[in-house]
């Protein structure tokens, strides 16, 4: 008799959503933005520049399928026929693998534009902590990129690094932020912030020497915040400051980062993970308006 058990802690919840107040039937342009990232994929459907529906899923091993699935997931909550789409923009790591995209735009441009939409025109610095890279973008009041910096050479400080830690410590990824504050005494020193693999082995060592899970989480959240801070410093921080990507939902990293920056970050009611897809759909809308659409 053999028994097999498998439990994962890194998995976050996939979701889709539709705005009941936005209709597509009278819309002039229906544009779609597809953001195929290294860890998550989003599809955002816009009717005349307003968010009509979106879907947010994990990226599979195959980008074209992930793009398709994300779009189907968003369409599922609507009665919109796919043929009604006027223009589709692909973005993210897998952007060249979105078979139904009319054009590709980098995630840099899309996140700036998306943050401008989600947080309002006051945003000047956008930090996107994605699954596999960190981007710092400075933009103007229209969401046009003025200066950008991206680190995609190393997984340190990225969402995937946090997923690895959630699995190692057996803490659900959604609880990591809160749990990282639940310890007694002084905050532990940060673990290595240059490499996820070294950080992981350091964390294992700390657990072995009697540290609690919460202390190790605190040490890692601090390491990630330090890593992200060093990138932001290079570009400079101009308020207002907004964060996009899945890591924006992690209070443990963001709380520590904002203390280092000594700024408040902006608030939004939108899901921060969809920023890239929102920006892509907005570019689709802008291109259609300029007569550069499909028709």
């Amino acid at each position: 008799m053999a028994e097999q058990k498998s439990e994962t802690f890194w998995q976050w919840t996939e979701c889709n959503w539709k705005d009941p107040d936005v209709g597509w039937k009278d819309a002039r342009f229906i544009t779609v933005g597809i953001d195929v990232g290294s860890v998550s994929s989003q599809a955002c459907i816009m009717a005349d520049g307003k968010i009509f529906a979106y879907g947010n899923m994990r990226t599979g091993s195959d980008s074209p399928t992930s793009a398709r699935n994300a779009l189907d997931f968003a369409l599922k909550v609507t009665d919109l026929p796919e043929e009604r789409m006027d223009y589709c923009v692909g973005t993210g790591y897998g952007r060249v693998n979105v078979p139904f995209a009319d054009r590709t735009v980098t995630e840099i441009a899309c996140h700036a534009r998306g943050a401008n939409f989600m947080y309002g025109p006051k945003v000047r610095t956008v930090l996107d902590v994605g699954g596999q890279d960190i981007k710092v973008i400075q933009c103007d009041e229209k969401g046009k990129v003025m200066n950008f910096l991206m680190n995609d050479k190393c997984a340190a400080g990225t969402g995937r690094g946090m997923e690895v830690f959630a699995d190692l410590l057996g803490v659900s990824i959604t609880d990591v932020g809160d749990r990282s504050f639940q310890y007694d005494g002084a905050e532990p020193d940060a673990v290595s912030n240059t490499c996820v693999i070294y950080a992981k082995s350091e964390a294992t060592g700390l657990l072995r020497s009697g540290w609690t899970t919460e202390q190790v989480l605190a040490a890692y959240c601090r390491a990630m915040a330090e890593r992200i801070f060093s990138l932001i410093k290079r570009l400079g921080i101009e308020p207002e400051f907004a964060v996009t990507g899945g890591m924006a939902k992690n209070r443990g990293v963001m709380g520590r980062l904002m203390t280092m920056i000594s700024l408040e970050r902006m608030e939004t009611h939108w899901d921060t993970q969809i920023a890239g897809a929102v920006g892509a759909a907005l570019f689709g809308h802008a291109l259609c308006q300029r007569g550069k659409g499909r028709r």
Partner: protein, 96 residues
Amino acid sequence: MLANYGYSDASGDFYITIDTDRCDGCSACVSACLEAVFVVVDEDPNDPLRDDPVAMVAADKRRKLTYVCGPCKPAADRPPLPCVTACKAGAISHSW
């Protein structure tokens, strides 16, 4: 737009910055660089609403800048960088 291509790692910051407001897409940097670090594209993927060609750092070189730029950066008596010299608009700069 200041487009910074490159990376930071434990040994330092390695970025080539292209000022796209100065760049006119003339391609002088493309022919000046022996390692084919630069490409000129008709549509700037970082600025979809721009209509003019623009120079970028080639995607396959962005994570290897310390190695591909190495030959132009000897430790002593560093001559002017060919790409920076070739760019009459002064759009290219290196962080290291």
